[in-house]
């Protein structure tokens, strides 16, 4: 496991994964989808385990700003 957050492509087939991700939400209500995403983030975070990487991922996700509307950390 690398000790830094990966920025290049790690997924073997990105389109396959994306389709599976969208499919997993099919037929769910907004609340169910929110909870599914939350569970997914927690599962993946536990799998990664490394606190530095998780910290970096949290900052990257918060930082990304579009439309001039910065995230909480921006």
């Amino acid at each position: 496991m690398p000790d830094k957050l990966r920025r290049d492509l790690g997924l073997g087939d990105p389109d396959d994964f994306y389709a599976a991700l969208i499919d997993s939400h099919r037929g769910l209500t907004a609340d169910q989808s929110l909870r599914l995403n939350a569970r997914l983030v927690l599962l993946l975070a536990n799998h990664i385990g490394n606190a530095e990487i998780l910290d970096e991922a949290l900052r990257e996700a918060q930082h990304t700003a579009v439309d001039g509307a910065p995230g909480p950390a921006g």
């Binding site: 990966r6 920025r7 290049d8 492509l9 790690g10 997924l11 990105p14 389109d15 994306y18 389709a19 991700l21 969208i22 939400h25 769910l28 907004a30 989808s33 995403n37 990257e60 990304t64 700003a65 579009v66 439309d67």
Partner: protein
Amino acid sequence: MASYEYPRYSYRAPPELKGETGRRRPVIVVGAGPVGLAAALDLATHGVPVLVLDDDDTVSVGSRAICWAKRSLEILDRVGIAAPMLEKGVTWQIGKVFLHDQQVYAFDLLPEGGHKQPAFINLQQYYVEQFMVEAALASPLVELRFRNKVVGLAPGANSVGVDVETPDGPYRIEAEYVLAADGARSPARKMLGLSFEGKVFEDRFLIADVRMTADFPTERWFWFDPPFHSGGSALLHRQADDIWRIDLQLGWDADPERERQPERVLPRLKAMLGEDRPFELEWVSVYTFQCRRLERFRHDRVLFVGDSAHQVSPFGARGGNGGLQDTDNLAWKLAAVLSGTAPDALLDSYDTERIPATDDNILNSTRSTDFITPKGEVSRAFRDAMLELAADLPFARRLVNSGRLSLPFCYVDSPLNTPDAEPFAGPLVPGAPCLDAPLRTADGKPAWLLERLGGGFTLLGFGAPPPVPDGLPVPLRTLCIGAGHLADIEGLAGRRYDARDGTCYLIRPDQHVAARWRSPDPVAIAAALDRALGRTGPLQEV
């Protein structure tokens, strides 16, 4: 004045209506669109006479299919159409993707040189059809009948009866095989009562051809949620004659009739192009996209090619390019069956090879359309998140999907392939389309590998000429890359084919790999050829 003058092709009363008995034709093609005409021209190169029937007397109205992929140009080069297409069309290989007014991603479709054909050209469908009709009119083996509308198909054991209506009345003509190339609304499909199942995308797109002088680069530009068309997607793509293709996503609630009207279209285009830029609107249409296919493309003696067999959404340019791969796959097989060198079962491999190819096209264009037109809050949130990350994070750029552009399909699971017996590296597995490479002839002239392969079965040897077996059912040309023969001037042929001295490839007439060896022997070559013709192997065991 419009940029293109539509030709009118002349109609003549068919001889069948003057009391002559029509002779049975080996092949009748229904529909003179790009796929039907490509089929006719390809069959003619194999010596098969073809009759093409079309209900109209001109080419495609509106630009319709505009993006022609490298593989299509390679296919059409064999019938002499690629050169005029390249001359008239605009060549491109760079695509850019924008979110709002920021570029998030750019791609290069052909980063590596050493190919005769470019990654893509853009050319209006009417030009492609026009060049094809001109080639067909010049061919002694192709007969074109305009304003001959097929109204009935009567499949029989040994032939198909084709009922035709003309301005002078109806007639019937028999064909051994019928190729239904009559488009997405295929009347032939309805005549056989075949269902055409799939997915309709609940969205509408405005597609416009605009004539203007602009110094935008010749690149594919795609916007998600641009400032000039808030909430939707937009595409700008150059064609020949200073015509630009513009797609704007309108949403499912848009009224297609109303959105077609200039008073609705012009403000949208002015918002995109700028108030001050003069332009003329040449053609406009409002579409809903669909992805669907026939369950099978072969129905005994009637074979469906192109949009009559399958329909895809346009993101990825997989409609016209997919259709040309259909005829490329079918023409040589039909010629081999008609000449008696291959059994009828070879035609079943059209289904086994082209159905997975079609499913791949449908999968890719469905995913692109789902990405571009997300349904529901969660899909949209993921889509937008990906776009937001894409500016800074390379991985996210690979997930942004504004269309996965058409690539030739690799028939890895084909029953016509002979599996490798020795290890090989690289992409040219049995079933793969051949890759081009620059060569030089023994007398010093530049040449291209694909050009040299031609349109028959070819044995391609590296180092030394390959051993040719005796008593083969079809002619087998040999080609040798090595000292005293064709020179691999940049070493690309050797690298792309993972060749060593003695390596040999058996290549099909459609320039897909049938088999390959490190040290070939004539017995193995003859066996692989029989298998590629469906004379032995899985097709015979069914």
